[in-house]
Symmetry: C2
Subunit: 182 residues, 2 copies
């Protein structure tokens, strides 16, 4: 089957939200599945800094041929010298970049990892993300992750999974572990 | 850092359950993350038949060096000529295999994909899975997936995420899609 035959006629919009563990990993699993079927996948992350935090998944996705792009990496929560204005500017650059990818139309799946956080923390306006959802190319599957997805984002999505935290070891004082949390 | 230094001192038990999409993909994402950190990952699936259904993730995980093992592949729901007795026998072979892996202790993470279904559908007894949870080697991270995790399984786990289906396009008649659902 040629790549052209594999492309989807109609892509949907998926949202992974909620307070439980598994949102980003579910999106990574989707990326792996799609690569296994010969589709083109782009992974765009917000508010993460792999240069410092050494996420295990990033190098593997890259090796699998997933396009990797990061925006607004230094969240003010961790970096006191980063302003909200800078964050907004960088998030908007991310939005512009997504629009550029739309116009090139080379990807079958785009994962917007933690973009819900950009809205929750006021760096992006809800309507800016809604516009990205609205304008996606017909055949593109769009995947948004991050806790705190707004009602309107949920309304505009086709598939929404909320990951609820039933039990989490952080609550009993266990630290962030290599290979599991990053 | 040598492989021996990377191994975890204390592995936990994670459970991904609930009716929403994202349980298996979250486990696959975990496998990818762990491989990216140089850990050894085994993926043991129940009630899935990649030979027929062509799951995109399996080939990619294999290429990444994840150990892949399948048990009780033909669920009677899809194969009317398969008996519950056969299923139970094959699930028990899976349990024995897991114990063998425990004794060899070569893996850092073992994913038991859809094992909750084996219990839900009566092919495994709850106590057989509880025993597997109890006997795991100290440094091993165990990940159980599948809807319908029992209360006792949840109780024995360290981290539990329940994936709730807020919206699903199947409900509006969209079919299983290559690269997304498999």
């Amino acid at each position: 089957m040629s790549y052209e035959e594999k492309r989807m006629e109609k892509g949907l919009i998926q949202v992974y939200t909620g307070d439980g563990k598994g949102k980003t990993t579910a999106a990574i699993g989707l990326a792996v599945r799609a690569k296994g079927q010969g589709l083109n996948v782009g992974y765009i992350y917000f508010h993460k800094e792999p240069e410092t935090w050494n996420y295990g998944e990033i190098g593997v996705l890259e090796k699998l041929g997933v396009g990797i792009f990061g925006f607004a990496k230094k969240h003010p929560h961790f970096y006191k010298d980063v302003t909200s204005e800078e964050m907004r500017k960088e998030c908007l650059a991310g939005i512009e970049f997504i629009k550029k990818l739309y116009s090139e139309n080379n990807y079958d799946i785009l994962i917007l990892d933690e973009i819900n956080i950009s809205v929750r923390d006021g760096f992006l306006k809800e309507e800016e993300v809604l516009a990205i959802m609205e304008k996606k190319p017909e055949g593109l599957e769009l995947v948004l992750t991050g806790r705190g997805a707004t009602e309107k984002i949920i309304e505009k999505a086709d598939l929404v999974s909320r990951i609820e935290e039933i039990k989490h070891p952080y609550n009993s004082g266990i630290e962030r572990r290599r290979g599991i949390e990053y």
